[in-house]
């Protein structure tokens, strides 16, 4: 699923709060105990759960004392989910777990724009107890606690924020997110932004216009400037807000608030950014190669946000996601690599590559790869092997032996980021007389 951790967190909380009608107290068409139910059991009146409990009473007494009971349990309708005789599924379930729940709870619409991964991958029991619980919606834990199990970092960040978004405090994640799926938005949002936001924030109020410098932002993406869970900036602006945003100087980039096209930027592409970042732009353009996104229509905004971000440098995400948007193959290579290269794993692509421009191929920060590797790798393990500008690679007269002669920086399927399975496989490429 595409949802961010935040969204997923919210989604889970929804369940916890019992806000989802299907999953909470009102399952669709709850089976009646006096009619044939799952598996066509024609039980005698009064024979339902009572018969089952004759044997299962010991283990179930405590369960039944929990404050929130799953509706079939409450009705002692065990055969709503279980086959009392035989089954091809664990715990004598009448069907596959997912199908068993889906008989009553259709929580993932076919046209969902986003779905919560646990719902798809693990099933309902990832968050719910099948029989009873101390929590609303038969959740296994209190909603906030449950969401935080997976969305720990986001949960902690929101809790520590100096300014918190009130709905998160009062209603939890499910105030904005559906814990199962959403047909209206990415990230399990109950509605798309800004429709979701304007449900509470009335855009026609004078204070709204005043806070937004009289710019017509009612239909803009609120989360472009505001961190929806909370931040340390007043107005829950992102912790890293673009200076003009933080200073409420929107007209530095946009046309005047009262103008016909107030939200239109004064210039496009690099030209707009150059107004403040002239030296940086000159520095970028002065090199032999400019990273292609900068040359494209979006220019700087292909990687940076214009308003605010949780990431330094106003990046649109961490380097793995920002760079990985185009270089997914490289990210995947690293993920699959047996040996991890720390800078790639940690998203420190800029350790070796200049994301803006370079005088070297592949945007290397230095033409000499040994110099790039040197700060982290002393080469102590290789002291016996000749390397350097004077050592010709036996495989290719135009190459000198250096780190990339034997390693691939983004990883391989073999140890030590070697391009071959074993040491001898690698070594005999040069030391051919030892080749078998």
């Amino acid at each position: 699923m595409r949802s961010s951790p935040i969204v997923a967190l919210v989604a889970i909380l929804v369940v916890a709060a019992g806000a989802h009608p299907a999953m909470a107290a009102a399952p669709k068409a709850a089976p009646k105990v006096d009619k044939p139910v799952a598996g066509g059991m024609k039980l005698k009146p009064g024979a339902e759960g009572k018969v089952c409990m004759d044997c299962h009473s010991g283990q179930f007494d405590a369960v039944l004392k929990r404050p929130v009971l799953h509706t079939p349990v409450k009705a002692r309708n065990c055969v709503a989910c279980h086959n009392p005789h035989t089954s091809e599924h664990g715990k004598l379930l009448a069907d596959k777990p997912s199908k068993t729940c889906a008989k009553c709870h259709d929580v993932v619409p076919k046209d969902a724009k986003s779905t919560h991964r646990p719902v798809v991958d693990k099933g309902c029991l990832a968050c719910h107890d099948a029989h009873a619980s101390a929590n609303r919606a038969v959740l296994t834990k209190p909603a906030g606690e449950l969401c935080a199990e997976c969305h720990k970092a986001e949960s902690e960040r929101a809790a520590k924020a100096k300014f918190r978004h009130k709905p998160l405090e009062t209603a939890g994640c499910t105030a904005c997110h559906d814990p199962h799926a959403s047909t209206k938005s990415e990230q399990l949002l109950k509605n798309a932004v800004p429709a979701l936001c304007v449900g509470c924030h009335k855009t026609d109020r004078p204070v709204f216009a005043q806070k937004h410098m009289n710019y017509p932002v009612a239909k803009s993406d609120c989360t472009s400037c505001h961190d929806p869970h909370g931040s340390n900036q007043r107005g829950i602006l992102y912790d890293r807000a673009h200076a003009p945003v933080a200073k409420q100087m929107c007209n530095q980039c946009h046309e005047a608030a009262g103008s016909k096209n107030a939200l239109r930027v004064r210039q496009t592409g690099v030209a707009l950014c150059r107004g403040c970042h002239n030296d940086k732009v000159n520095q970028i353009m002065d090199k032999a190669r400019v990273h292609q996104p900068i040359l494209e229509e979006g220019a700087c905004l292909n990687c940076h946000t214009p308003h605010g971000s949780r990431k330094s440098g106003l990046l649109r995400g961490d380097a793995v996601s920002a760079c990985g948007k185009c270089h997914a193959d490289t990210i995947k290579r690293q993920q699959l690599s047996v040996t991890k290269h720390d800078p790639v794993r940690d998203g420190s692509c800029a350790t070796c590559h200049d994301p803006h421009s370079s005088n070297s191929a592949l945007m290397f920060v230095d033409n000499d790869t040994t110099k790039m590797c040197g700060p982290c790798h002393s080469g102590g393990n290789h002291s016996a092997h000749p390397m350097g500008d004077k050592i010709v690679d036996p495989r290719n007269r135009n190459l000198r032996l250096q780190c990339l002669s034997c390693h691939r920086a983004h990883g391989t399927e073999f140890k030590h980021m070697m391009p071959y399975a074993t040491g001898p496989d690698l070594c005999t490429k040069c030391h051919t007389k030892y080749s078998r």
């Binding site: 040359l295 185009c326 135009n398 490429k429």
Partner: protein, 301 residues
């Protein structure tokens, strides 16, 4: 279900990583016949990124790392020449093309301008497409067809500009806006245009009457990593997979036809390859960038 790591690697288009030469079922093959390591004075090539060929075996190399062009002749399996062309207007040659008059057109990485050099190695002009709609183009690649028409991939405006042999604007073809990144353009003998999206590993097509590109292939990310160069020849599209170190072949109908070459340092293998061209005999020349050489391969169909 957990997919075994080995299978995941296999799925990664960089299968070529450990396979010097990947066999494939289609008819085209790549057999190494020669390597160009140096100029006429035995000065080594340094990270060459561009190579262009004529039907009769004239070869020009953009020796990018040395900031120069090099001219060679390839006749009957033998490479000769290696004369150097160094111009103040072309300090960072990246991609090269011949026009029908024997001029060399070269894209300079730093100025992002196309420079024309005559057959006697003299600077002719910086190519401007006369009458092209504003804004000014930001070319990242270009091609010249057999009639001398120029096709410029302008990424700043998401379009391919077309100019006639006199340099006059004739039309523009719009590229789709999307998550991908267009990196090269190609043209076949009928004038049909092809655009290569490296991020999505897909090819787009536009007929001579189209004003916008439309998809030719599906996303081919499962077959290749980052195809960065496109060459059209005799009913086939050759995609140079820069990060995956291979050449993928796609039919003009968009069908995938196979993959050749693999990473390595010895003759016959490539390391972050770049531009690809064919001479009249079907010999393919590849700028083998990180191996500091240009390699020639016989291709048999």
């Amino acid at each position: 279900m957990t997919v075994p790591r080995s299978i995941q690697w296999a799925a990664l288009a960089a299968v070529a990583l450990t396979v010097p030469a990947v066999a494939s079922a289609q008819k085209t093959s790549f057999t190494h016949v020669a390597s160009i390591f140096a100029d006429a004075k035995e000065g080594p090539l340094r990270k060459p990124e561009g190579v262009a060929c004529t039907e009769d075996g004239e070869v020009v190399v953009a020796d990018t790392g040395n900031g120069r062009l090099l001219r060679y002749q390839y006749r009957q399996g033998v490479v000769s020449g290696g004369s150097e062309v160094k111009l103040a207007q072309l300090t960072h040659p990246l991609l090269v093309e011949f026009d029908p008059k024997g001029n060399v057109l070269a894209l300079d990485a730093k100025t992002r301008r196309i420079v024309k050099v005559d057959p006697k190695d003299a600077f002719v002009e910086t190519v401007d497409i006369k009458g092209a709609p504003s804004p000014a183009a930001t070319p990242v690649s270009f091609k010249v067809d057999g009639q001398g028409n120029l096709y410029v991939l302008d990424v700043a405006s998401d379009r391919v500009l077309v100019a006639d042999p006199s340099g006059k604007f004739t039309r523009q073809v719009t590229l789709p806006k999307g998550p991908g990144q267009f990196v090269d353009v190609g043209v076949d003998a009928a004038g049909v245009l092809y655009a290569l999206d490296a991020v999505e590993a897909s090819v787009w097509v536009a007929s001579t009457k189209d004003s916008a590109f439309k998809p030719l292939t599906k996303r081919m990310k499962d077959r290749m990593n980052f195809p960065a160069h496109l060459t059209v020849r005799k009913g086939q599209l050759f995609l140079v997979d820069r990060n995956g170190n291979g050449v993928d072949i796609v039919g003009l109908d968009g069908t995938y036809q196979g993959r050749h070459l693999g990473i390595g340092w010895s003759d016959g293998s490539v390391n972050y390859p770049s531009q690809l061209c064919f001479d009249g005999q079907g010999v393919a020349f590849i700028a083998d960038r990180f191996n500091n050489r240009v390699q020639a391969f016989s291709t048999v169909q």
